[in-house]
Amino acid sequence: MGAEFVQFSLVPILIGVFASIACALPGNFLVLRKQALIGDAISHVVLPGIVVAFLVTGVIATAPMMLGAAGAAIVAVILIEAIKRLGGIEPGAAMGVTFTTLFAAGVLLLEQSDTSNVHLDVEHALMGNLESLIWLRASGWASLTDPVALSSVPDELWRIAVVAGLISALTLAFWRWLKISTFDPGFAQALGIPTQAVGFALVVVAAVAAVAAFDAVGSIIVIAMFICPPAAARLMTNTLTTQVWLSLGFATISAIGGYVLAGYGPLWLGGQNAVSAAGMIAAVSGFVLALACLFGPQRTRAGAAAEA
């Protein structure tokens, strides 16, 4: 736990934790609204977003790509809503139509434009590259107070930290609106709460979280963190506040546990190389959810408690 840890593991772990928290927060409400798969849809359209951004600007730069991804996510959300309403199609199918089509368009654009020589590929979008985000100039814990060393901390960390902070602030500020328009939209509307705007804003925030997270950790974690920690937390408690806190705890455990297992697990087993941290984080969050499904005190519906 010395200099090597600070240099190679601290930053990826922090990024993983912030990304997981940024996704798990809106995920709580998505799960309660039975919109869990919006997260799935959003993370699939990130790819076409960054490809279009690259084709338009011609450079691989973070800002335009984030904008492109966010734009694609919002376009996808609007398309899903439009297909749902205009075609009278159930939400799941509308999502399926939208995100697969946009994803296909993204893959096609990628093949058509000669981007093979640049660092922009599907696997990266899916799996991220958490492991490569190392803190080059760190020489130990002391570096945390060294401005020169701090200046070489990967930008991804600051970015995801800001986004996680922003999402936490928004969740806190709109807590009541979110809660009531999720639980009882009719009553919320009668109170004058713009429930549709709240719903849309929630999805946009989820999109921002997904976009900020995918660059560092890839899409798989994004979907897993939207769903697994909140779902596991729901099975542990019947109070919304507790559920949200628990979900943050589970997200953090998954991020740290997943990273450590991916980095050190194979060594313990006698292997040579680390495995995908993103994949392992998703796997650990799934393990947490599985435990909650099997043993969570509130795992069944109130009425069905006796039968289970």
């Binding site: 609106w177 639980f183 009553f187 109130a302």
Partner: protein, 267 residues
């Protein structure tokens, strides 16, 4: 037809309905291309307790939802105490149909009642000790004080309905709009609810409720509003709740034998 033509273009001059707790003009609401409510006019009397009556699919709930801005309307306008809905929202308490919410939501009975205080404390305002006390008092008024911390999914249907009513009480409104408050509740709950509603009326509040049980209309309400897509009749029970209006509302679905038991005028 020799009357002199007079202009039908009228500005928004006040008329006798201007101070009614709820007034509706030419309200049409449709799902798709089928009107569920067609061109309904209604004026509810201050301090009255009105039952909205009609068969299934007559548009009763739809009308209330459209009036409160929960669903969009095709045409028509509504006023609350003579003003547009937006400025008078805090004077209205709405109790949605029990089936319209997700009872598996992770929240407690007391929490639900506190939602009735959201307008009072605002988006960010903190709940104070007396807000909490007020919410508990509202639960007590419906006989649910011992269930304050129970998760809502663990309550019986009648208890859930009481919690909804307590939330409306917490809003401390002047107009109470209830969508099927007696649907699927036990007899004790029905008594408890009607007691609270009568108490509200005694304190000068106006109560409007969608109601299904024709046999209890006379006991519970003093006004009725009969509708079947359009308005059939409205007024005091003695005048508007008659064999004719019920036939017009329900058509052949109303059994003559039932009518006998209703002590109707003209039966």
């Amino acid at each position: 037809m020799t009357t002199t033509p007079r202009p039908v273009l009228v500005s928004d001059t006040a008329d006798d309905t201007s101070s009614a707790p709820l007034a509706v003009r030419g309200l049409t609401v449709s799902y798709g291309d089928k009107p569920a409510v067609f061109s309904v006019d209604a004026t509810f009397v201050p301090g009255s307790m009105t039952a909205i009556i009609g068969p299934n699919g007559a548009g009763k709930s739809t009308m209330l939802k459209a009036v409160l801005g929960v669903i969009p309307r095709v045409s028509g306008e509504t006023t609350i105490f003579g003003a547009p809905l937006g400025s008078e929202r805090e004077r209205v308490a709405y109790v949605p149909q029990r089936a319209s919410v997700d009872w598996d939501f992770p929240t407690t009975a007391l929490d639900v009642v506190m939602m009735g205080l959201y307008r009072k404390v605002g988006l960010l305002g903190r709940f104070r000790r007396d807000d909490r006390a007020q919410a508990r008092a509202c639960l007590a008024r419906v006989g649910m004080e011992d269930f304050a911390d129970r998760q809502i999914g663990q309550l019986s249907g009648g208890q859930q309905q009481r919690v909804f009513l307590a939330r409306a009480l917490a809003q401390d409104a002047d107009l109470y709009v209830l969508d099927e408050p007696f649907a699927g509740v036990d007899a004790a709950t029905e008594r408890a609810i009607i007691e609270v509603l009568k108490d509200l009326q005694a304190r000068g509040k106006t109560v409007i409720a969608v109601h299904h049980d024709l046999a209890t209309v006379r006991d519970y309400f003093d006004h009725v509003f009969l509708m079947n897509v359009r308005k059939i009749a409205e007024g005091p029970v003695d005048q508007a709740f008659t064999t004719d209006t019920l036939h017009a509302t329900y058509g052949g679905r109303l059994e003559a034998t039932h009518l006998d038991q209703l002590e109707l005028v003209g039966a």
